[in-house]
Structures are given as structure tokens and as C-alpha cells.
């Protein structure tokens, strides 16, 4: 897959995935420690390293702490990560000493479904015992959701992904609203930012309900409402996301090219 070639035809030179990656990378500006999965999060975290936050510490679930990959890894256990890491520890240690103890500043999550409290489903579509689509399952998501100091969710915005009611709750955002996270004993702040192909959402400080705070350039409110099955809260001072800069796109293309090596 030669992403550069396919995308270059698209005006204005980037596609929704690019926008999501760039927005995620920007959200890492000045952050110190980030827990990374494969796909968009890994690309975003490495883009942040390649642009404004070169000292960002990448922690992968496989036990690699402070990985400094020179190419995008193929899996969270890519040998490149182990070879460039400050330290490689066991999986029990990663979860118990590093994630659960709240040492990770930002964790990324994605999912097949999300509800208005940013709870996520990556387990099954349909009935659990007789699913229409069986998804991979929880993996590290429940602990990232519980214990990273903040979580950034990357998810496309549509009636398929944004749902009134999850078919299964794999990992938590804010449960049914304020107080749930504290009751569960979770110390992380939960999803403080949701990045979609249409814009950014943040939890309302009072109600925990996701509120659209930023639209990507070229997206209007009607399009967002049409993509969301519930009456989506909108920030009064709705902002417009800065499109990817030339430098961001150049660095991103360079990173993506490493995956074809």
C-alpha cells in the first residue's frame, strides 16, 4: 500500500486519517509519557516525536519503555521497539508497575463503538453469546482506560461507531456519568479528548457527556449532527481545527514511508 501516492490526488493533500493523526500528535505536545498501540496512535506518537516533542517517552504494552523506533513498528512487539528502548520489562511489570500505578500520562484507545460517556466496545457487535461480528476483545484497553492519567480516543464519527447504547462495554470512559470512575477506584481522568474524522470532542466538566469542541476545517455542524445518533452537545465557542501543516504532512509521509521498507 503506497499511501502517499493514493492521497496526493485528494485536495487539500490530506485525508481524514491524516487529520486524525496530526490532531493526536498535536495533543501530545509537551507531554512526557505516552502508551501506544499499533495503527493511528503509534503513527501519531511517532509524529509528535518527529516534530514538536522529540523526548516523548513511548511505552508499548509488550514491555518496551522509551522505544525510539526509526520506522513505524508492525506490531506492539516489533523487534525495533525492543532494540531502541531504554528498558524492556515483562508484561506483568508493564501492567502492574507502569500502567496501574498511574505512571503513563496519555494512553490512546480506539473501538468499534463509543457512547456519549466515551465508554468503548471492542468485544462484539450484537449479542455477546451469538455475535454478528466478533471483535478482537479487550486486550490492554480496560487498564489504559482505568489508569492512564488521561486517555485520547481515536474513532471515526458515524451512526455505526457513535451509538446510544454499546453492545458490550469493553472499557470505560465515564460510565453513566460523574462519580462512576471514583467509585470503581480508577485514578486516571478518563478520556479527556476524542478525535474523530469530523473534529474533537471533550467531556463536559459537569456532566461528563462528550461535547463537540472543535470541527475540522470543511466540516459543519449539520454534518456532525447527522453523523451522531444522539443530540450531541456543542461547545458555544466551537473552534476550527488547523489543517495539517506542510511540515506535519511531510514528516507524516516520511514516517509512513518507513512502513513500506
Amino acid at each position: 500500500m503506497s499511501t502517499g501516492a493514493a492521497r496526493i490526488e485528494q485536495s487539500p493533500g490530506y485525508d481524514p486519517d491524516d487529520m486524525m493523526i496530526v490532531a493526536a500528535a498535536r495533543a501530545l505536545r509537551g507531554r512526557r509519557v505516552c502508551f501506544v498501540g499499533i495503527g493511528l496512535p503509534s503513527t501519531a506518537a511517532n509524529l509528535a516525536r518527529a516534530t514538536h516533542t522529540p523526548d516523548l517517552v513511548l511505552v508499548y504494552e509488550s514491555g518496551t519503555i522509551g522505544a525510539k523506533p526509526t520506522r513505524l513498528p508492525l506490531s506492539i512487539g516489533d523487534g525495533e521497539l525492543a532494540e531502541t528502548a531504554d528498558s524492556v520489562v515483562s508484561v506483568p511489570e508493564i501492567f502492574n508497575y507502569w500502567v496501574q500505578a498511574g505512571r503513563i500520562e496519555v494512553g490512546f484507545l480506539s473501538a468499534a463503538q463509543m457512547d456519549r460517556y466515551a465508554n468503548l466496545n471492542s468485544t462484539a457487535i450484537g449479542d455477546y453469546d451469538h455475535p454478528s461480528v466478533r471483535l478482537p476483545g479487550a486486550g490492554g484497553a480496560p487498564e489504559i482506560a482505568a489508569s492512564c492519567r488521561e486517555v485520547i480516543v481515536l474513532i471515526r464519527q458515524s451512526h455505526r461507531t457513535f451509538v446510544e447504547r454499546l453492545d458490550f462495554r469493553t472499557s470505560v470512559g465515564f460510565g453513566e456519568g460523574p462519580g462512576d470512575r471514583a467509585r470503581w477506584g480508577y485514578r486516571g481522568a478518563g478520556p479527556t479528548l476524542v478525535i474523530t474524522d469530523l473534529g474533537l470532542l471533550r467531556p463536559d466538566p459537569e456532566t461528563c457527556e462528550l461535547t463537540m469542541t472543535d470541527l475540522h476545517r470543511g466540516v459543519d455542524v449539520d454534518r456532525v449532527r447527522a453523523a451522531t445518533p444522539w443530540d450531541l452537545a456543542m461547545a458555544k465557542d466551537l473552534k476550527i481545527t488547523e489543517p495539517p501543516s506542510a511540515e506535519e504532512l511531510t514528516r507524516l509521509r516520511a514516517l509512513q514511508a518507513t512502513q513500506d521498507r
Binding site: 524492556v88 508484561v91 496501574q100 484497553a141 480496560p142
Partner: protein
């Protein structure tokens, strides 16, 4: 003390129908060759355990070796779905597959408890998720000091754990390095342990990041060069990413899948997919 055996003999001796079999390897050091030997020997009714079941588990499930899967994340990493895994869960083909699913941290701590001789382990997790109601090996305990409620997971002690490693010495000590994941805990939790290795050497070179499992906690060591293929073994072989991508097409169709297994595994042709 570990016996150094042929892989076929080791599987015959250590893995029996109905056993609970953990085969670990967190994206690295995956015991693929051992899994293929289990398919060749036609084991049935296994409870298979792994944090991240991938292609070799898809193959075992598709061949009907498993009655139950205990897992955390079942996918073709970097590619997509495991189609045999999905088919088994969604339609019960070729045999119904009972599942017990956990978060990675939860299943990891089940091994930790098992390796520690404890009946359970505690963690912050599971509360608020649907896993709590679906998984009988997750319950709640209260901290006797603070009153906080925490999740408890039952210890997991597999009948046999199989892992892949870089080297064994002639006494049966095992050395692995790179990402070792939960391999040590899975091995120490098990009643029986089989390690497949790339190479048998006279003496280990001390290695940064090296993890040694002494021979006296291992039952059998079997030489299986490229035994993690198409995954990788640090210092020996790289991941064949094309094989992961190719698996998607092979595994989507039941007949194509069976034909592939027959050709590459049962007939003993080299287990390479592309």
C-alpha cells in the same frame, strides 16, 4: 530436569486431549511449530490459553482442537480479524468454542498468581466493564486496610505451558531475550513445561535482557529452528509480514483453510504461508 527431545515426542508426552494448554509469546517467541505439531497429532478438547491468540491459534481453532479459549485479544496483529476464531464463535464451526475473556492485565495476573502459588491476584480493573459479568474467574475483594474494592482474578495453572525461546544448553536450561512478555510466568504457573528453541548450545553467552529458565522447572526442550515463523525470534529471524497479510485470505474460506492446513501442516511441507 528437562529432557531434550524431538518436538513430536515432546508433544506426545506432554499434551493430552482435554488439557489446558497455554502457548504464550507476546508478539515475539510464539511457539508456532509446537502448535502445528498439536494439529498433526489431532489433539481434541483442549482449553487453549493466550493473551493474544493469533494465527497459530486460528489454525488450532479452525482444526477443531479446542473446546475453550481463554484470551485477552484475538486478532491478526496489524492485519485484522482472525477468521477461524470468528467463525468458531459466531457459528460454532467446526466445533463450538467456549470463550473466557479477560483484559490483558487480568489474564497476566492470573498467570502471576499461578506462578506465585497463590489462589488469586488483585488489580484495579474490570469494574464498569461487561467482562465482570461474563467471566467467572473475576470477582471482587475488599482491601482490609482501606476498605477499597478491587478486582480479583483466579490463579491460572495450565496443565502444560509451551513457549519458544532462542537457546537451550545441553542441560536443558533455557535462555530467551528481547520481548519475553509473560513467558516466564506462564511457564512457572504450569504443571508441565515445554520449550521449543532455535538452537541448542554448549554454553550461554550472558545477554543484556536475557531471561534464564533453569532446567529444573522445565520438562522438555525441543529444537525447532524458525519455530516462531511467521512471527520473529530476536537474533534469529524477522517477522514475515506478508505471511500475516496472506493469512487473511487463506483463513476467510473454510475449504481454502483446510486445504492450506493439509498441505502445509498435515503433509509436513514447510509451514510457510507464502
Amino acid at each position: 530436569m528437562a529432557k531434550i527431545q524431538g518436538l513430536a515426542q515432546a508433544i506426545e508426552d506432554l499434551v493430552h486431549d482435554g488439557d489446558c494448554v497455554a502457548m504464550e509469546g507476546f508478539t515475539h517467541l510464539i511457539p508456532v511449530a509446537a502448535g502445528h505439531e498439536i494439529i498433526r497429532q489431532g489433539r481434541k478438547d483442549l482449553t487453549l490459553v493466550r493473551l493474544t491468540p493469533d494465527i497459530v491459534f486460528d489454525q488450532l481453532i479452525g482444526m477443531g482442537c479446542a473446546k475453550k479459549l481463554v484470551f485477552g485479544w484475538g486478532g491478526n496483529p496489524g492485519v485484522g480479524s482472525l477468521h477461524r476464531f470468528r467463525d468458531a464463535i459466531e457459528t460454532g464451526w467446526p466445533v463450538p468454542l467456549e470463550i473466557e475473556e479477560h483484559s490483558h492485565a487480568g489474564l497476566t495476573n492470573r498467570y502471576v498468581a499461578g506462578a506465585s502459588g497463590l489462589p488469586f491476584a488483585i488489580l484495579r480493573g474490570y469494574f464498569g466493564t461487561g467482562l465482570m459479568d461474563r467471566t467467572e474467574t473475576v470477582k471482587t475483594v475488599q482491601c482490609p486496610f482501606t476498605g477499597e474494592k478491587l478486582a480479583a482474578v483466579a490463579a491460572l495453572n495450565p496443565d502444560v505451558t509451551i513457549i519458544h525461546a532462542q537457546q537451550a544448553d545441553r542441560a536443558g536450561n533455557v535462555l530467551m531475550w528481547g520481548i519475553t512478555g509473560v513467558n516466564k510466568e506462564a511457564a512457572l504457573a504450569a504443571t508441565r513445561v515445554l520449550v521449543t528453541v532455535e538452537e541448542i548450545v554448549d554454553h550461554f553467552e550472558p545477554r543484556p535482557g536475557g531471561v534464564v529458565l533453569p532446567t529444573w522447572v522445565i520438562d522438555a526442550v525441543a529444537k525447532a529452528p524458525a519455530g516462531a515463523y511467521p512471527s520473529y525470534t530476536s537474533g534469529y529471524s524477522d517477522r514475515d509480514n506478508a505471511a500475516y497479510v496472506a493469512w487473511d485470505a487463506v483463513s476467510r474460506d473454510r475449504d481454502t483453510f483446510r486445504q492450506w492446513i493439509e498441505e502445509h501442516i498435515v503433509q509436513g511441507a514447510p509451514a510457510v504461508s507464502s
